[in-house]
Symmetry: C2
């Protein structure tokens, strides 16, 4: 229990991950609790990107595809991400966006389960996941369609018509965590495949895809992986599905021999079949150092620290702040690394906090969301953030017109 700021500082002093904070650029005067939306910049990344621009693109030009192994980057960085999610290196590739990868893998999954016509997900799943699955359903023209079932009923609704279950492991608003092993097992019992969106779990939770027997997964590079705004995403395909999983987006980089320039598509028989167009070399260059940092950290410690930060935040908010209602699971084992509270004035409160240097975010209609990065958030920051939040609420500092205007991105 944290009773004083001193207690928080004591936890920081004993934190085996505390040294990682120095690897990030964090602006002075800011408590950054939005790394679940855009992860902070690793210090080495600016240099790596500059080198890629100046020395590789500018000086070595087209030769860099070979000499700087641009062509190998999707597989190389994917192999590193694999180690963070309990997969084998050859099962993960970096490509496109999370949305595009979800389309590829969900379409491929439906084709692997002919005769089954349901893609199952939950209401309130991250919107792009639902949108992509809706689009896929329209496109499949009756062969499969999205069915949305309340989370509590979902396990029971998986049946002999379910081709694939598509869920976000950690919910983007509430932070609620699905039991990845149990639900994967349930899907398999019913003969369905499962596709996990790991966007809010990769880089924070100790995900173990292969131990759970998961089939497919996608995830985001710009949140906890610190890959930069709009970083390329990743796709995981369990080895047993790789030869059979056809991507509808069969671009040249997914060809068995991209530089043979044949007229007929012949898919790479491995994870490279999930590549489509030319990879974003600058995006990969920015993503790789973030992933490398995560590889240096013990994954069990990362998971535990992020949850402990969340526990401390929940406890302090409930003890010291008025008017906020917890919207996340209280138990750490049922959460990811972000915590949400509801308040009718959540939007204005988040703006007032930002004006005071505490950066969390708002999610419609009434959620204030705060993310904790095990690699750079301290317990003292959690204490300070709650103290500022307490003051904003107690003084109604949020009740000002400047904080009530909505910007384009909130």
């Amino acid at each position: 229990m944290i009773e004083t700021r001193g207690d928080a500082a004591t936890l920081d002093a004993a934190d085996p991950l505390a040294g990682f904070r120095d690897a990030f650029e964090l602006p002075a005067g800011v408590i950054y609790l939005d790394g679940n939306s855009l992860g902070a910049l690793p210090k080495v990344t600016a240099g790596r990107v500059a080198e890629t621009v100046r020395d590789q693109w500018g000086r070595d030009l087209i030769r860099s595809w070979n000499t700087h192994d641009w062509i190998g980057a999707p597989l190389r960085v994917g192999g590193k991400i694999a180690a963070l999610i309990g997969a084998d290196a050859h099962e993960v590739i970096v490509a496109d966006s999370t949305s595009v990868n979800l389309f590829k893998l969900a379409a491929g999954a439906v084709a692997l389960r002919p005769g089954r016509t349901t893609i199952l997900s939950e209401p309130g799943n991250f919107p792009t996941d639902l949108y992509v699955l809706q689009g896929l359903g329209r496109f499949l023209d009756g062969r499969a369609r999205l069915k949305i079932v309340a989370a509590d009923d979902l396990a029971d609704e998986i049946d002999e018509d379910t081709a694939v279950v598509v869920l976000t492991h950690v919910h983007y608003k509430s932070g609620r965590r699905w039991d990845l092993e149990a639900l994967t097992a349930r899907a398999h019992e019913r003969g369905a495949l499962i596709l996990w969106d790991l966007s809010h779990s990769v880089g924070c939770l100790d995900v173990r895809l292969n131990a759970a027997g998961a089939d497919l997964a996608v995830g985001c590079g710009y949140k906890y992986l610190n890959g930069g705004p709009g970083a390329p995403a990743f796709a995981f395909v369990a080895e047993r599905h790789q030869a059979g999983l056809a991507s509808p987006l069969s671009g040249w980089m997914g060809h068995a021999e991209p530089f043979a320039f044949d007229d007929a598509f012949r898919p790479a028989g491995d994870i490279r079949a999930q590549l489509c167009g030319t990879p974003s070399v600058l995006g990969l260059a920015a993503l790789e150092p973030g992933v490398d940092l995560h590889l240096e950290a013990d994954r069990a410690l990362v998971e535990a620290k992020g949850l402990a930060l969340g526990d401390a935040f929940i406890e302090l908010v409930e003890r010291r702040c008025e008017g906020l209602t917890l919207a996340s699971p209280r138990e750490g084992r049922r959460r990811g690394h972000h915590v949400s509270f509801t308040h009718p004035d959540a939007y204005a409160i988040v703006q007032a906090l930002i004006a005071r240097g505490v950066i969390g975010d708002f999610r419609a209609p009434d959620i204030a969301r705060f993310g904790f990065s095990a690699l750079y958030t301290s317990f003292a920051e959690v204490w300070d953030a709650v103290e500022i939040l307490r003051e904003v609420l107690a003084t109604r500092a949020y009740d000002h017109q400047d904080f009530r205007r909505r910007a384009a991105v909130t």
Copy 2:
């Protein structure tokens, strides 16, 4: 006619575009004739990318979506590209890769022509175009399929079953240019739509999509636009089709209100419907300065100079070099800005040239390809490149084992 190096230098001295060369980083000792594969680095780009990484991502973090208008970048940069291809600003958006955009627009086009089951293209079109259309056909499961028809017969093969004609305006190997106006008109006569891949024409030819009445187009950011390796691509949808063209890749950025976080997809009624996932902010930051440079140049001059460089190259090679056969149209008005020759030892010849600082590229099975950038290639470089090529051929310098090994990317 260029008889001497002095003649070439005279042309350079009179070149109204010569000043642009100084805007690019070009390594000493290199004659870069591969800007059609990866455009050179504009000098301002490194700084712009560094600023985006350090000041925007690193310092301003998540707030940059608003304060640095990251959210508006796909439309802003798309609007600039529109001016290069004869489109209106609201008809072009930057998103994903060329391959992914081709999938979106071809799928949308098929849905706009119900009952028509043919997607028409030509053999030897850029492979990813054919692969994507093959994948789309498999995915559409009989509703439409790719038909490949020889270029000479193509106009006649457009019929009442043709949903969409998909062609690359300038052929990636031969540089042969389709008559964009005539073929667009022909498609429309037969009630078909047309989708142009402008990857090898944007930034070099004075493309006029709206004057031709074109329906749809895609194009590449990393060739003549100098947007950097794996730069995001663009999509053009003529205003009249925007409300009706449904993307199968219906991700959150294509939603009418992305930040309402509704469960149901409701497409943006404009070009933004062609967005899918989170845009590559670093990719856009690198692309924009290249596009800005092109906006400063007179497009008719750019087209004319690139063709004149190609004419000079053809003439000098045919006059001074042995054993090469022209594989591009001789007439400038039927070409883009690259020129190809065949030779049984093309691969080794290209490697020997690269070893001497003349960077062109090889395309299987026997093509040596040379691209001329109106913004940074000089007539003197064309002279020097041909002189080095002459020497490589005359001395059989390419006939060395080092030049015969194939690298991963050729």
